[in-house]
Symmetry: C2
Amino acid sequence: MARKTGSHSEITGPKVRAAALKLIAQHGFAAVSMRRIAEEVGVQAGALYNYTRDKQALLFDLMCSHMKELLAAREAAAVSGDPVARLDAFTRFHIRWHLPRGDQVFISYMELRNLTPANFAEIERLRKVYEDELETVLQDGVDAGLFHLDDTKVTTLAIIAMLTGMSTWYRAEGRLSLDRIEALYVGMVRRLVGI
Amino acid sequence: MARKTGSHSEITGPKVRAAALKLIAQHGFAAVSMRRIAEEVGVQAGALYNYTRDKQALLFDLMCSHMKELLAAREAAAVSGDPVARLDAFTRFHIRWHLPRGDQVFISYMELRNLTPANFAEIERLRKVYEDELETVLQDGVDAGLFHLDDTKVTTLAIIAMLTGMSTWYRAEGRLSLDRIEALYVGMVRRLVGI
DNA sequence: CATTTAACTGAACAGGCGTTCATTTGAAAA
DNA sequence: TTTTCAAATGAACGCCTGTTCAGTTAAATG
């Protein structure tokens, strides 16, 4: 046998993904060229094609990984118990997980229109799985007479928009600590569902 | 005197802006070429430069107009009275004004990173004026002992994120009428400030 | 009708784009 | 030390990019 498969690949592969993530979040998918990504990695443009079929696959891979990691982390942190505890857990999880992943969040919301229709459908499917988790919590809370809200679906979308919006302005060096942010959002989400 | 200044210009100018708005909202600023915009207008690419200094100015113009029209409309719809009435008015205004302007909203949130630093600063300044309007209402409500919330600034940003997020999923032909949407969001915003 | 000139064309510019591929490199395997 | 081949190079492909500008067109003015 010759040299182990992917001895360099194991280093360059992640570097390609990291460079693409950073640059696309910064300038947008269409504005970043393969040559610019290659430069960031320290390699010629042609070498990128050892790690991705084409530019579109690179974007899809970033977005798909983001969503699958989100769902896996959510599953690992699953909480059972009463709807109030599950709602608080969802809020805390969303903030803790999204906050250190600003670039991924940005790309996942901004670059949907640059996906091919098939790739777009897949990402939307994964996003819906996440939304449904929250919707189920809200519905259970309503059914148990604990939450008071007018429309479960709209409230779900409103909460996710509110939580995700934080990524656009939060800065680690800012006025508010992560703990404080978390507490504020837990409070606001609770109010939103009428607790 | 020769022919009136801008006899065709008055027709083509708005067509250029409309085409740019539609295409940039659809595909993103960097992904849309001047030739593609010209094609949509029914003109050669060179002719666009009778209506914009360059591509960057076209984007800035769209975003700047959007923000200035928003602020002008807000001023025209200004309400005085108690904080609760002003809060409800803000919610209703935001929804009614943003909902039929999906493309502008999309561009104004997505294409900030494609502005030059100077243009970016100007748009952010205008956005802040709008945010400050809501923040003032919240602060007045808190001072009057009517609202119960933990952090005025964060609540302001959360409300705006929640309201603006609606643009990403609302469809006129969907399950909910505009009146219903408005009522739902007025209710949610009220809950968020502890009414 | 003759003149004026705003509006537009169409070609050109220099450079960048995504992608392919024959060739070179160099470290691990034998 | 020799062999092997994954990994990377670098040039090339055809096409597209934003922008400029000399030249053409045609409608309104005098």
